[in-house]
Symmetry: C2
């Protein structure tokens, strides 16, 4: 039995190192396959999620590695995914089918004491399942499984990196107050609001979870190295990306869906009109999770996004920890309207479809300095070679990218997704 | 023909002075009767409103002066008012049936160039009619009738007297911005937000209307004497109380209903948790008028009331003049759900019924220094002698009032309604 040309003897020790000894052969191959999938499919890939859900991670991986006939595979998977989608997915996964990368991620994880969580594990955050086919295929954990067990009563506190003193003060009060009430604080470890939320939770000896957009082996942002080290000690640092994976704009946006999904409620503390935390808020709303926003001076641009959430997106105006706690009382998971939820997700809110999304990923994969060949860009972006060529053509026309020698570079001003 | 023992020769010159010469005899007596009613019934008196609506102001006044049999009067008025209510109303109106007071109010008005407006006059603000039986029986105007003609496109800007620099800044921006867009600013001429709203409107050469809780012959608060004089020059100062009437807590609360009713929308700019401007907001909501609130720092007690309106009373979060203007676009009066409105008003929101309301009025009528006899208190409060005796008894028990000699005084700490 082998996958990606790897024998059980190569895979088993590594999987045991990151997931414990009690693995029968099937579970072991399932875990290995899921860990490999986290490096093959970009976060939120609905086709990968569907394939793995229907066939199991290993059989799904086998089908891709063996380039199973799309017609036949579609017959096995059913109509939630079209033949075209399957074909396109094969194109974008193929450039990443490398046994070396999969093994490297595992050994790096083992080195840093990273654990691999898969659905069904006790520590698997139950909220993730609400993402349906967009749910992460596995999660890489650095820190305490016991912290994840508290995620059922968690509130996400998110906000702008460019926070004001007011925003940081409110984040500190919110985090400390919620921790005192027994909540776990989920955030993204960014500068500004996120960092303050984690810090105040730690200072109050509370539970806190940081969800990263890249591998948990390297901390981002680097200025939060010390903070993230403390979170590993006292809480948990999570990512759906394997060790070695760089954070990209696409992954930040998808990381936000994990923050929203694993939290009972999301509160935006300070956000500019176009802040990334509005993206997290959008995920929370799409998931039917309660959404709160903290008002601030109307004279402060850093609060404009919060007011926008209250005005346009029905966010609840919350002004203190009590009101934030009201969003998600400490009594187990609230019922959620699964039907409505799925509809929204299948729609366009989370689905990584369309030229705009592809372009975000290609921009992520390009460098302004070193020219990269299309195959390399495709592998980095998790897109098919054909898609990358199409996007590069469009970018060349509007000046977003340029050919240099045999490769491509991103040209300033950087395009923003 | 006479009323209150007054002959036409006594009344006519005064009425002509405050309402113009083109008065036939019926109109003249109607105007005089309405002016007298503003001194007999407290603002918002539903029984007076109903009586005047059904019988006309003069016939209603005649019925009270002649102490018409309640049984017979009830037959004429119909079932919207009960016999008990009629009887109680007679009790509270009787102590105020004084020709001297009515004449004094008129001559004082003539002296200050005050005009009397009655329903049907061109300058009568149309929004008032939505108050139904709680509508003012007449309005005393000091200033420009042309300003009242602009009230169809008015927005009320109200807020705390104890405003912060932030609140005053926002009030100034709001008022100037709305005036620039063509709105008339309605407010209560109080210190803090109200004063800033008027001031900024004047500074932008805009239209502004101040609604007072006492007679327009004496300006309240006295520190706004100069401001109110400027509003008289360039805008309008209104009250439903006759000249000589003092502002009382009850009248402030009822004044707020006029501000809400004559404005297309009400915006609260800054308000503490129990600010009086929440009362205005409550009237606006009861009338089905759009209600906005400006958020502020959650660390500021002066914004707590605004956040409360957004959280608990469905006020729209508004952060700039554009968003305020959206509450009431400049295109004539919006349709209002008359049915729902009446229900709310007939309920308890505006109706001055019950011990608590009576107590507010008795407290208003008491002095902490000079002892007042029950008859005097009844006349001042616009309540029957029996009601006043009941309230005083209760206040004596809880220490709110005490007998001194042949009269009563209010005892500190002052009771708050």
């Amino acid at each position: 039995m082998s996958i990606l040309g790897l024998k059980e003897s190569q895979v088993a020790p590594l999987v045991r190192a990151i997931a414990g000894d009690e693995q029968d052969r099937d579970a072991l191959w399932d875990r290995f396959s899921r860990s490999a999938w986290t490096g093959i499919a970009e976060p939120g890939d609905r086709v990968a999620g569907t394939l793995v859900a229907v066939l199991g991670a290993r059989e799904a991986l086998d089908a891709v590695v063996s380039r199973e006939n799309v017609e036949a595979l579609h017959g096995r998977v059913g109509d939630t995914v079209t033949k075209e989608e399957l074909g396109q997915a094969f194109e974008r996964w193929t450039p990443r089918l490398q046994s070396r990368t999969a093994l490297l991620a595992l050994s790096q994880a083992a080195r840093y004491g990273v654990r691999l969580l898969v659905p069904g594990d006790t520590a698997w955050p139950p909220g993730m399942d609400d993402l349906g086919p967009h749910a992460p295929l596995a999660l890489w954990l650095r820190g305490n499984e016991s912290t994840l067990a508290t995620a059922g009563d968690s509130i996400a506190l998110v906000g702008a990196r460019a926070a004001t003193g007011y925003g940081e003060h409110v984040a500190m009060e919110a985090s400390a107050g919620l921790v005192d009430r027994g909540y776990t604080i989920v955030s993204g470890a960014a500068y500004g609001i996120d960092g303050m939320a984690h810090r105040a939770a730690l200072a109050s000896s509370g539970q806190t979870i940081a969800v990263l957009a890249g591998g948990v082996d390297r901390f981002y942002p680097s200025g939060h190295e010390a903070l993230l080290t403390r979170i590993v000690d006292a809480g948990a640092v999570l990512s759906e990306l394997p060790c070695g994976a760089a954070p990209t704009k696409w992954r930040f946006l998808q990381r936000n869906r994990l923050i929203a999904a694993m939290s009972r409620a999301t509160v935006v503390l300070e956000a500019g009109w176009r802040s990334g935390s509005l993206n997290t808020a959008g995920h929370a709303a799409a998931l039917g999770r309660p959404l709160g926003a903290v008002p601030g001076p109307v004279t402060s641009a850093a609060s404009a996004g919060c007011h926008r959430l209250i005005r346009e997106f029905d966010a609840v105006c919350v002004t203190n920890p009590d009101e934030m706690a009201e969003l998600a009382p400490l009594t187990g998971l609230a019922d959620r309207a699964e039907g409505a939820l799925r509809t929204t997700i299948e729609g366009e809110t989370v689905e990584p479809a369309g030229m705009q999304e592809d372009r975000v990923r290609v921009v992520d994969a390009l460098s302004t300095r070193s020219a990269r060949v299309v195959d390399d860009i495709a592998a980095r972006a998790g897109l098919s070679v054909a898609t990358v060529q199409g996007v590069l053509g469009a970018m060349q026309l509007d000046g977003g990218a340029a050919e240099r020698g045999s490769g491509w570079v991103r040209t300033p001003p950087p395009a923003r997704g």
